[in-house]
């Protein structure tokens, strides 16, 4: 039998591997011998990369396409109508800011996205809580929700105009339709993922049904629910352009649609990049809230 200690001690006699070894016969060196050459772990499945490697790779991933864009524009081989240069786009952002009320567009678009998204969140949350907690509510509502979520939100535009009209409500309604049904299903799944043992533990401690929902299910599902809110916020932004198709005269999506009519490709680029930047900032905001609100998920020993 090869003892654990024997393999640690290269200086132990060879015949030690054959039989029993008493603890005091094993000599353990205090320092490890020269380290073995390290092989790269980049292609190890789920391998480790250092923080530095992460940042170098992340920067490269962003910088490379940006550099390609600069190069293409500098060469001048592509017509600016098809691909405006980075400086054209930057200039457009400045004139947009100075002459065309960029901040007003950002503000109204943020307002529509946030109100539409918040409205679906407020209504989806209790429904999802019921679906995830009670099987009969799941049977009642989930198939219908599954059915509706496959319908394209764009196709609802005529109905929304007919039922709600063409003012702010209509734009918010489109964003609501685009996010609500997905939100219900994802949040219901978050609630269902609460471990049964957590619920049963509360039952054996004599918790009432309301206490189980308020003191176990909700706090247990909260981190996953916040993640769902973060992901659906991204989807709300993708529905913004669609929503601003409806008789809008302001907003980032509207600006993109209008720029298309005048073939202002640089403004289309500017609008898309602005939406991406705002979305990224909001995403990071959500991640920050996650870290602050749920410290136990980030503490391990």
């Amino acid at each position: 039998m090869i003892g654990h200690g024997a393999s640690l001690a290269p200086s132990a006699p060879d015949d030690a591997a054959a039989g029993a070894v008493a603890p005091d016969e094993i000599v353990v060196p205090l320092e490890p011998p020269a380290a073995r050459p390290v092989r790269s772990t980049l292609w190890t499945i789920r391998g480790f990369i250092s923080r530095r490697q992460y940042w170098v790779l992340a920067t490269t991933g962003v910088a490379l396409p940006l550099a390609a864009w600069f190069a293409l524009a500098a060469l001048g081989t592509v017509n600016k109508v098809f691909l405006p240069g980075p400086f054209d786009v930057a200039r457009r952002v400045i004139t947009w800011f100075n002459n065309d009320d960029l901040l007003g567009d950002v503000r109204i678009s943020c307002y529509r996205v946030i109100v539409g998204w918040a409205l679906s969140a407020v209504i989806a949350l209790p429904i999802a809580l019921l679906i995830g907690t009670y099987r009969f509510v799941q049977a009642l509502l989930e198939p219908l929700t599954d059915f509706i979520r496959y319908m394209p939100a764009v196709a609802f535009i005529p109905l929304v105009m007919l039922w709600i009209g063409i003012d702010e409500g209509a734009k918010i309604a489109i964003i609501f339709i685009g996010t609500f049904f997905q939100m219900v299903l994802m949040m219901a799944e978050d609630v269902r993922r609460v471990p049964m043992a957590q619920i049963e533990a509360a039952q054996t401690m004599g918790a009432t049904r309301l206490e189980i929902i308020a003191k176990v299910i909700v706090p247990s599902a909260k981190p996953a629910l916040l993640d769902t809110l973060r992901i659906t916020m991204g989807w709300a932004w993708t529905y913004l352009v669609v929503a601003e198709l409806v008789a809008a005269n302001s907003g980032l999506g509207y600006a993109i649609i209008k720029a298309q009519r005048f073939l202002q490709t640089d403004k289309i680029f500017a609008g898309i990049i602005l939406i991406g930047t705002i979305g990224l900032a909001m995403d990071q905001g959500f991640r920050l809230i996650h870290r602050v609100a749920f410290p136990w998920l980030y503490k391990r020993s």
Binding site: P195, E200, A201, G206, S220
Partner: protein, 278 residues
């Protein structure tokens, strides 16, 4: 001595519409107050179902069960349960987990200031008793599996239950940690004067902990036999190597093997290996 749990002719039938499974067949068992009883048996013998029925998490189909003198109708504060894992609340610190019952109306209905103080002292005492004082402000996922189960036991004991139900609580722990937990739970149950009903699939654990070992058999789940453990009330690790311990272990293992229905499998293996030789 008064009975902590009395079962007469208890049946549990799972009826899914398309199939009927008898999980418990005519179970009768009397557990006196303060006893440490262990339930062992092959998987599917209904030992966990029986424990969950005692906890009030499952409703039995027929028969009578009384806990602390009154019939069981759902979970009650006289019975506490410790699960195998994932039952702690990861968003609460260790002390908050232990004090969780204090957030429930069932435990705070007649709130007096002396009661609140007593609860604080109780939580403090449990922290020390279970060796958790140094990690009182840690979150459960910062603790090892053994420490997490200490928290789960402390939480169950917080409201001074008369009956402690344990469903393979040490099943996920390594052998060394498990030994430590065995001595701890024996000590604590003695100190708290509570009846313990302990489910396990580990025969050695069942004998070491139990004053009586109830062996259950599967398909349909039923009590096969009951053994008094011929060891002194105060258990020591060395007793595991004594003749009476080993004899009882052999006897129980043979009963489990005989009732588990696994015999056909070994015959099949032999048949298969003979074919490979030929």
């Amino acid at each position: 001595m008064a009975s902590a749990v009395q079962c007469r002719g208890v049946w549990k039938v799972f009826d899914t519409g398309s199939s009927r499974v008898t999980a418990l067949q005519n179970l009768s068992l009397d557990i006196p107050e303060g006893e440490f009883v262990t339930l062992v048996g092959a998987s599917g013998c209904g030992k966990s179902t029986f424990l969950r029925t005692l906890a009030g998490l499952e409703a039995h189909t027929a028969g009578e069960i009384e806990a602390s003198g009154s019939p069981i109708a759902g979970p009650g504060v006289d019975r506490a349960m410790v699960f195998q894992d994932y039952s702690l609340y990861p968003w609460l610190k260790v002390t908050e987990n232990i004090r969780f019952t204090r957030r429930l109306s069932a435990h705070t209905r007649d709130r007096a200031s002396s009661d609140v103080e007593a609860a604080a002292a109780r939580a403090e005492a449990l922290l020390r008793l279970m060796g958790l004082a140094t990690v009182a402000n840690a979150y459960p996922n910062q603790l090892s599996g053994g420490m997490q189960q200490r928290v789960a036991i402390a939480r169950a004991l917080m409201s001074r239950p008369r009956i402690l139900l344990m469903d393979e609580p040490f099943g996920a722990l390594d052998a060394q940690t498990r030994e430590v937990m065995h001595d701890l739970i024996l000590y604590v149950s003695e100190l708290e004067h509570c009846t313990v009903i302990f489910v396990t699939h580990d025969v050695e654990e069942a004998i070491y902990l139990g004053r009586r070992v109830v062996v259950m058999a599967p398909r349909p789940g039923r009590i096969d036999s009951i053994y008094e453990v011929p060891l002194p009330a105060r258990r020591l690790q060395d007793m595991k190597h004594t003749r009476p311990f080993l004899d009882l272990k052999k006897q129980i293992l043979e009963r489990i093997r005989a009732t588990s229905g696994m015999k056909t499998d070994s015959e099949l293996l032999q048949k298969l290996s003979r074919r490979a030789d030929a």
